[in-house]
Symmetry: C2
Subunit: 238 residues, 2 copies
């Protein structure tokens, strides 16, 4: 309230002086009272990156208090790379074959992310397991989305696994990433029904429709709410 | 339509003659057109048997086209035994310690069920694995309910397992029983949310509320609809 009072008494000339002393950078969004820092995101992908597109759109619309600082792909032919570049978002391609082993590759990616000032990393169809090098560098600041209700059906082709198992409910899971495959603490899940007569493609499509809002919701809550980990349970404190 | 026509032309006297010739037995329910045979159920329990109570009530209300022919417990002190006897339902107690090994015990139970004319077996908190003797005797005619979205969290304390794992969705699963623990083809599942701040007891209670209607719905569909198994997928044909 004190800040509002003083700001309302400020002359236009003094405001100009203030902005001259504190020039707005792109990572900050100004409002009359205080500056809201936007969290810098780095996104890793290996394919189309439809979840990356959902996150970019949520940042642009202001739904997420964040900005996508850099996108990294391990494949030059990933469709997500072209989409990102068209949109003018910084994008680097680091093919894993150019590096000696997983650690060297992961260290190069971490360097790129650090240089771009990334605070949170989002995996969007990134088809490689992260090494301890990476997980330690962004400890509990890496998110992944998986198209099943974990711990059911980790690994590849989760939708086909669920379909073949004959479950009536599956879904998608956003979780913090550790060095095990599809394993870390769960942030958010959405349940999706499997209908009689569904093909695997029907199911993939129905889950994908839920993945985008689920990923954005999980990220938004992590950035805006207070949370802690009890064992592998992620608990909201507010 | 022909049957309806003739029945509507029948005099009360002729109806009395018909019922004298075809006396209604308890396992048959008459309607003016045709007789609907009620499926004979056998229920196995080791404890309170709240799911048994739900099935008995659904039979009594006519929601299930079935009748509970016999209840078998492996524990004399099971609360479900007293409840069943108060209600006048046939109940046998076969303590597993009285038999030499699982096969002998299961064979004794199968004999009891066969003698009572049981067609479908429902496990309601029966805390023993079934031997191949039992599973073969009632092949794909044994149902179980488990308080998780299988294949997640099989075995004991499924609700506590789910709570400790930090999932956002769990539920209950009705499945056909095979010789593996909580494993056979899934008939019906209900998804139940885990809320922030839930204790294990909160979660157990919320899941239990869904177990009763889920079990009845699964059984009703198996008895009334056409279905088949493709691998381990149970598919409705209508």
């Amino acid at each position: 309230m004190v800040a509002v009072f003083f700001w309302s008494r400020t002359t236009p000339e003094r405001r100009r002086q203030f902005y001259a002393l504190h020039p707005p950078r792109s990572r900050y969004r100004y409002n009359p009272v205080m500056t809201h820092k936007l969290t810098s995101l780095g996104i890793l992908l290996s394919g189309r990156g439809s979840n990356m597109q959902a996150i970019v759109r949520a940042c642009e619309s202001g739904e997420l208090p964040a900005t996508v600082a850099i996108v990294v792909s391990n494949r030059i032919d990933a469709a997500g790379v072209a989409w990102t570049r068209e949109r003018g978002i910084e994008c680097r391609v680091l093919p894993h074959r150019d590096y000696e082993g997983r650690d060297a590759h992961d260290r190069a990616i971490v360097d790129e992310l650090r240089e771009a000032g990334v605070e949170w990393v989002c995996l969007a169809g990134y088809m490689r397991l992260l090494s301890p090098v990476f997980v330690t560098a962004f400890h509990n600041r890496i998110l992944n989305i998986h198209p099943s209700l974990l711990p059911s059906f980790p690994g590849l082709d989760a939708q086909a696994q669920a379909h073949g198992h004959g479950v009536r409910w599956t879904g998608c899971t956003v979780h913090l990433v550790d060095t095990e495959l599809d394993h870390g603490p769960i942030v958010e899940q959405t349940a999706v029904p499997v209908l009689s007569g569904d093909t695997v493609e029907d199911l993939e499509h129905r889950i994908l429709l839920e993945e985008h809002p689920t990923y954005v919701r999980a990220l938004k809550q992590l950035l805006q709410r207070r949370w802690t980990l009890q064992g592998r349970r992620l608990i909201w404190l507010d």
